[in-house]
């Protein structure tokens, strides 16, 4: 009896591993086709369709992740053509981890968006197709191994992100979206220019092949510069962050969560992937200092700006600018033998944990807006009881962002720090610590409002609205997942080990 179970379990495992290759295109096509179907049918006629599509996407993602975890990196040659000619879809541990993050946050956003947007009187008709296409694009960015295909995906990402940011359609949102569009167009064209130079130099667009053929010459340097700066503009990395705060803080809460936790993150993912897989020949110590220095300044600057915001969502948005700095700290550390592995693990881990925590924070802020009608920090005093669960989620998310011990944020910072200390890079270690302290300042500033008693004579101008249960609990679940990642880090780190970049693994022997 038990052996039968074991056999069937084994067979299921084999089947899952075998179908992982097919799941690779599916994580892109399933949400895409769902989006088109939703547009065709009309979301009012089939409100069950988006959640169904989300569930199917998550299923495909689970099969893919399982395949990567058991069978190593997965690859699919589209159209049956070999890479330099055709386009390869490729998922290693890093991609699988990001797809997992996208699946979790995406599911949460999908569940949350319906009641939120309906409750705010916003139309879901265009939101659903845009959001589902965005999900498809995110997955596409994680698995595409072709430089030009990535350009198409990046444009899709911008064009799905900007309308979501502009949905509020007031002065701040529209000007932010305009800035976003113009800067993102500049960024993507710079990226394309870099890709053109790379193709001119190597005759290939395939990531790993370009990486193998590339020599450290002027062409590579200028291409890398254009691509990096272009992606910085698209990801709103400091000092090109000019659209992020208004865009992310004026979008509807579920869109803010997706933009901050996933969209900008996917672009930073691309920065790291390109530097570690395509441009390692250019990654010298001074280059690392430049990019890491940008990250360090971003950490401090974002936190300082977050401290002075009078509203909750801008605080969270500036925190995003700060948190992206940690991801850039990977580049100066990864070139050092002692620090490469922990820094790599720490940065990838940080990407995931930050995604979960940031989505939780934005959704919790959305609950506040939904219940109270505003997100001014002053209004958090004398908290309405409907919000206590949401504020728990907010507190947990902030704990993770500042890297308090049992949370996932702590683990990622621990890894980064231990890498920096092992390589005796005191400056980067200090940056990580200072960043955590600064994050604690803005986090406690917000939480102090939550704890404070209402001022005497406080009158709630309008009765708070009751939250639907699903909106109440979605951010809590996300925040708890971020917490869980702090408690149980090994599975993710093991998944990450599949197909780690050579620049990291070369020191392992």
């Amino acid at each position: 009896m038990s052996s039968e179970f074991a056999d069937s379990g084994l067979m299921t495992a084999e089947l899952l591993t075998a179908s992982a290759e097919l799941a690779l295109p599916l994580v892109f096509f399933v949400p895409l086709l769902t989006a088109l179907l939703v547009f065709w049918v009309g979301s009012t006629r089939a409100p069950w369709l988006p959640p169904l599509g989300a569930a199917l996407t998550v299923a495909a993602a689970v099969v893919l992740i399982f395949g990567v975890a058991n069978g190593g990196p997965q690859s699919h040659h589209l159209g049956g053509w070999q890479p330099p000619l055709g386009i390869e879809l490729y998922a290693d541990g890093f991609a699988a981890v990001m797809i997992a993050l996208t699946a979790v946050v995406g599911l949460a956003v999908t569940l949350y968006a319906g009641p939120y947007l309906r409750g705010k009187g916003l139309s879901l008709e265009h939101f659903w197709p845009l959001w589902l296409i965005q999900w498809a694009t995110l997955n596409g960015i994680f698995i595409s191994a072709d430089l030009f295909n990535l350009y198409v995906m990046l444009e899709l990402l911008t064009l799905t992100g900007a309308p979501l940011a502009a949905m509020a359609a007031d002065r701040a949102a529209l000007s932010a979206a305009l800035r976003y569009m113009l800067l993102a167009l500049l960024g993507s064209l710079a990226y394309l220019l870099g890709v053109a130079l790379l193709y001119g130099a190597t005759g290939s667009l395939h990531l790993q092949e370009v990486g193998a053929l590339l020599e450290a010459d002027a062409t590579a340097a200028i291409a890398a510069a254009l691509i990096t700066a272009g992606l910085f503009a698209k990801a709103a990395i400091f000092p090109l962050h000019i659209w992020l705060m208004p865009a992310h803080s004026n979008a509807p809460a579920p869109a803010s969560a997706a933009l901050s936790a996933l969209v900008a993150k996917a672009v930073v993912y691309l920065v790291l992937r390109l530097w570690l897989w395509v441009f390692p020949v250019l990654l010298t110590a001074p280059m690392g200092w430049l990019i890491g220095g940008i990250g360090a300044v971003a950490i401090v600057y974002g936190a300082v700006q977050a401290m002075r915001q009078p509203r909750l969502k801008p605080v969270i948005a500036y925190s995003t600018i700060a948190q992206f700095g940690y991801l850039l700290l990977l580049l100066p550390l990864v070139v050092l033998p002692a620090a490469a592995l922990p820094a790599w693990q720490g940065a990838a881990y940080h990407a995931v944990v930050h995604g979960l925590a940031k989505a939780a924070a934005f959704l919790a802020a959305g609950n506040m807006i939904y219940a109270l009608g505003h997100d001014r920090l002053e209004g958090l005093r004398g908290l309405t009881p409907y919000l206590s669960v949401s504020m728990l989620a907010l507190a947990l998310a902030f704990a993770s962002l500042m890297g308090m011990p049992p949370t996932g944020g702590f683990l990622s910072k621990w890894l980064l720090l231990s890498g920096a200390i092992a390589a005796e890079q005191w400056l980067w270690a200090a940056v990580v610590i200072v960043g955590g302290l600064l994050a604690a300042v803005y986090a406690f500033r917000v939480l102090a409002y939550v704890h404070a008693a209402p001022p005497s004579g406080w009158v709630e101008l309008r009765a708070p609205r009751r939250l639907p249960r699903i909106m109440e609990w979605t951010p809590v679940v996300l925040a708890l997942l971020a917490l869980l990642l702090g408690v149980s880090g090994m599975p993710l780190l093991q998944l990450l080990a599949h197909g780690a970049p050579e620049i990291v693994t070369q020191w392992a022997e």
């Binding site: 010459d217 340097a221 510069a225 700006q305 621990w414 702090g486 090994m490």
Partner: protein
Amino acid sequence: MNIAASHGVAWWLPVLALLPLLLAPLIGFGGPRWGRRAGWLLAASGALLLIPALWVVGQPGGLVGLAGLGGPGGLGGFGGFGGLGGEASGARLTFELPWLLLHVRLQVDAASALLLLLTALLWVAAVAQAVVTTAADRHCGRFGAALAVTLAAFTTVVLAADLATFYFAYATMTLAAYPLIIHQQTPQAQRAGRVYLAMAVLAEGVLLSAVLMIAGAAGNPQLSAVPEIIAAHPFSDWLVLLLGVGFAVKAGAVPLHVWLPLAHPAAPIPASALLSGLLVKAALVGWLRLLPLGEAVWPTFAAAALAVAVVTVLYANLVGLTQRRAKTVLAYSTVSQMGLLIAMVGLAALVPAAAPVAFAAALLFAVHHGLAKGALFLSCAFAGRRSAWRYALLPALALAGAPLSSGAVAKAGLKEVGEAAALEALVLSLSFASLLTTLLMARLLWLLYRQGVESPQEGEQRGGEWLTRATVLFTVAASLTVPWLLAGRCCPTLLSAALQPSALWAAAWPLLLGSALVVAALFGGYALWRRSLKSRSGNRGDDHTRDRIRDYIDSHSRDSRGQPWTVPEGDWIKPALLGGVRLARRLRRLWRRAPPRPPLPAWGVVGARWSAAIESRLVALAMAGALFLVLVLGISVLGMWAGR
């Protein structure tokens, strides 16, 4: 040792750590009905800790780690002792969870068995009392959940066998205790919480830097390997100092003790019992597991620790005597008793050979103190009753080290350390400490009695009265018996040593002297009072004495803060903060050379203005475009340089 059996028991270890965590959300969000049930379940789950603890204690040689104390060779015999942190041959349970954190390893050895035993007993009693007494509280769910997380974290601190797990659990415990302290949300509690949090976070920072230095050298090592890693580390002196200071905050070493007399009285009674009985002992666990004592001499650290210990014992007792609230007195008593433990650590650093005995004695003392202090705090639940001091009497005597009490055994252990380390002075100073403790306990009993007389609350009957009483009696009973049983189990010679007439006398004379002083003071006070009463009220008869006593006490206790001989709670922190603020104000005035009014913009406003200005410059698209170009050119140049 039976491996199969041990594995069966070892399964309990993660369950013990996780069960309260699972119960926490249920308590927090379960509402009055389910939350209460979960609370009872939490209380009951404390008893589960007894399983691994008693299993290890029950194994033949289970407490071999403690056998050095009063071992077969008599008082000096600690031969064959393997060291508590090292590879002792004693029975132990281990369990590994590779997928959790950074490879979690849990372990029960002799040291953790003793502490688990203490934890189990206090846990059951305190949580049961919490369920009864906080039922009517609006935020009882939050309180219970924090209690559950704190207990889970403390259990994990005791069980942890690798560095990361230990540190995670320690930090979680520190943070989870914060809601316990601020629970009552009075301004006093808020201030206590702020001071606690500030000091705890600073201490965490110190600890974290030490832990990261270790991790940088060895990844996530087993705790048993940490002392050697530290000893071999190029910055070993710094590491020892950092660890010493980091844990000293938790242990309440003077002058880092200020959070303790603020926090313990501010918390609800069951939480105070756990804070004072258990949580401060986490520092002992940290020193015991991490410091490389017993192998080399650490003269600086030892000197500092011994000095701090002496100051702590003296200072805390004296300041405690001036306090006017029972729980504050108890908090200062905790500080002073922790001073004894710090002395043990200092001795271990000074005389490596005495380290095992020192730690064994410290553990035994920790169990005794935890139970006795827990019982004392829990009996404060009856503050306001005439009978309150009666509940407190026996544990107070034990704490003072009365002959035949559990305290006598524990102190016999400490004295043996002094003899092992050839420090006769220690024995004498221990007796002196007992004298001071006696006085402090007398003060406590007096305060409890007076509160019962002064503001009786007999009318207020709470539900579950008998349960509260049961928890108190249970703890009192445990505090009287368990150290005896443990001593009998691990080092029978210690027991007999404690029962020898000379030892009895040594234990008794400070108590007697203290009692005599107290009685003298009482009589003196009574005489003074009579005189002042007579001179004030002329020729009233004596039949209304009782009423007049009450009047007198009322008139004097109303302005208890204004008494010149009362040291404020948290002694130096309030003057320091006030002084700091005044100094800053004065400095700023000097700096600006301007009259203090009208108020200048605070640094926050200036900072906000600057950061807003910078942001508004950066946010222009033209600026972004220019920065974009600068970035492109910068990376290009560096990239070409890489090509060279």
